[in-house]
Subunit: 251 residues, 2 copies
């Protein structure tokens, strides 16, 4: 059967999601935990990689197993073998056609800033900014929302067929000293959310104008003032799928 996992992790100590030699990754730690329970060497397929240091509140991954464990029991069984910074939030059976990667319809990321002086107790999940001009960030966000060729917001090294993506919404919320940017889209290029956050910040800092943001999206040429912001501020919040591919255990 195919099992879908919903996963939360603090990415600080990991070299990202995907397995790579000589590095500790989230995928590897969870696959090892599954091996300890089932004796099976499974391969987890995630909705997408997260980079070194990026966090997740709702990463999704699937794997196939012949183990005689009921789908919802995988959650506690795997958790019993995981460190405190990785946690399975949900385990459920899905159709064999379900793919955590290819069936994903929508993803939401949060990029978090905190304003004011640097604070050790705020540093772990947010990027410090002396000041943010939320009003101009919201104006910039409006330019980015929509279907665009986002090649200007993509780090080199990725090999995708097309760099056209649709950003459905960008919401900016303030909660005390924390300012969160929620970006929802049908998919994201390598480093795309960190570039979007960097663009909002560059506009807030008056390093680039709204006109220049439009031009970047049109020309695909990124201005030097736009850099991908630090991984620690980024959290994969949610991955959404069509409901019909998720089996109901209770039937």
């Amino acid at each position: 059967m195919r099992i879908k996992l919903t996963i939360e992790y603090d990415g600080t100590e990991y070299a990202g999601w995907q397995i790579q030699p000589n590095e500790i990754t989230v995928q590897q730690v969870i696959e090892t935990a599954i091996f300890k329970i089932t004796g099976e060497q499974v391969t987890l397929t995630a909705s997408g990689r997260t980079d070194a240091g990026v966090h997740a509140k709702g990463q999704v991954a699937h794997f196939d197993t012949n183990a005689n464990i009921s789908p919802d029991r995988f959650k506690n069984a795997i958790n019993s073998k995981l460190p405190n910074d990785i946690r399975i939030l949900k385990s459920e059976e899905v159709d064999g056609e379900f793919s955590a990667r290819y069936s994903a319809k929508k993803k939401t990321y949060e990029y978090r800033f905190y304003i004011g002086e640097k604070s050790p107790l705020k540093e772990r999940y947010a990027l410090n900014a002396e000041y943010l001009d939320i009003k101009s960030m919201k104006k910039c966000a409006k330019k980015i929302v929509g279907e665009h060729d986002f090649k200007c917001f993509c780090s080199s090294g990725s090999s995708v067929k097309t760099t056209v993506r649709t950003v459905y919404s960008i919401k900016i919320n303030r909660d005390g000293d924390f300012i969160s940017v929620f970006v929802t889209g049908n998919g994201f290029l390598y480093n795309m959310v960190r570039y979007i956050a960097g663009t909002l910040k560059a506009v807030s800092d008056k390093k680039i104008s709204l006109k220049e943001v439009e031009e970047m999206l049109f020309s695909g040429v990124r201005l030097n003032a736009v850099t991908p912001l630090s991984a620690k501020g980024l959290t994969l919040k949610k991955v959404e799928y069509d409901k019909k591919q998720i089996k109901n255990d209770k039937k």
Copy 2:
């Protein structure tokens, strides 16, 4: 001149405040930073030690220096030599009679819980509890507030003259899934706040009754159900002094 520092730190990676052999401590890291700036080997005196893993939002410490640096400039100078998890929030000149330790009048600690399922992104600064009965915790807090012999809330190994202390207030606030217990007193014994938090939790869990809390405070004999809770939930929030001992640079 004597300099008073107000300090924030994430205590996770440190073996507490106080210098000890073969361990990295907050005191040692700050003293090393001061040495890099002034060339002086100063000794920092803090309001009190914090244990391994305990955080601070407003720890206070003082040191004496002959360096030709204006008092408020120490802040940025020291910060330039500190790691991200320790930060000087304020530096100011104080009277030679001021002692961060002996002049302290009041201290406030926060003990933070989060309720619901375990969450990697909430684990760092709070202790997970499935459920907390805030109403009975508040009743328990009322029993603890006041002047008492708190020897039942003191780990062995401390050598204090008296175990009588005054707890001025215990406030319990809820913010979403987070429940914070703020304890203000004229001073605290070794592990005292972690025992107070443990007592509130034991009452919430119905492991001990309010009557038994009263009896513990009266007899000084701690019940086994009361344990000091994990360091990670504890933050030293504020240390208060008489204003008159703080010099005004601008005069």
